[in-house]
Symmetry: C2
Subunit: 125 residues, 2 copies
């Protein structure tokens, strides 16, 4: 019985989208559509999604995918969106999802940090 | 009309829980209960939750809270869980949620990275 050591199980992108279109950031339907389309663009398999509009402003949402999740939280008053794209496996392309959202939200500035998840864990065989 | 610069809008904890109780990691009801109770312990306001059991193994779930979200993805075959606790505001205590999950999942090893979200964004007043 062997032991398989994984370098990592997943890639988690944390993207800061700044100077976005503030109207879009406060539009539940747009945000929902953008994040679901981002998941599709990344070739993820969507299981379920949930989006919520805050009063007076802001939208939060998550799309659970077979390969982990996408999430967004928007602050229209700051022109800011926090985007997460967490994927496992080689088939899904998380950077495509982030690029899609940067484009749709018209972010003038953005920064994406890549965090590896589940590094050096061992499967008992 | 002034401009308010925020040092950051949110705290995002990315926790790697290793050498967990593998039975718990594959138990949908336990995982759901643990993550919801973690949100309660952190004094978060729960809006909606969704959990999914994979075949042959593993559970994914998200709890959307008024202050952002908690998520979990488990790999029972590796004894591993990827936990995220993303909170905004001063009222919620994200480290309490992570500590709660470390305890309930009996993680023998863990590492938590704290990432600030939405730093140096400006509110137009």
């Amino acid at each position: 019985v062997g032991e398989r050591i994984m370098r990592h199980l997943g890639i988690h992108l944390l993207a800061e989208l700044v100077e976005c279109n503030t109207g879009s950031l406060d539009d539940l339907d747009k945000i929902k559509n953008f994040v679901i389309q981002a998941a599709v663009a990344a070739k993820a398999t969507i299981l379920q999604s949930f989006f919520h509009k805050f009063v007076p402003q802001g939208v939060s949402g998550t799309v659970i995918i077979a390969e982990s999740h996408l999430s967004i939280h928007t602050w229209p008053e700051f022109g800011y969106a926090a985007v997460d794209v967490f994927t496992c496996g080689d088939r899904v392309m998380p950077y495509i999802a982030v690029q899609y959202l940067i484009g749709e939200l018209e972010a003038k500035r953005h920064e994406t940090r890549e965090i590896t998840r589940g590094y050096n864990v061992a499967e008992k065989g």
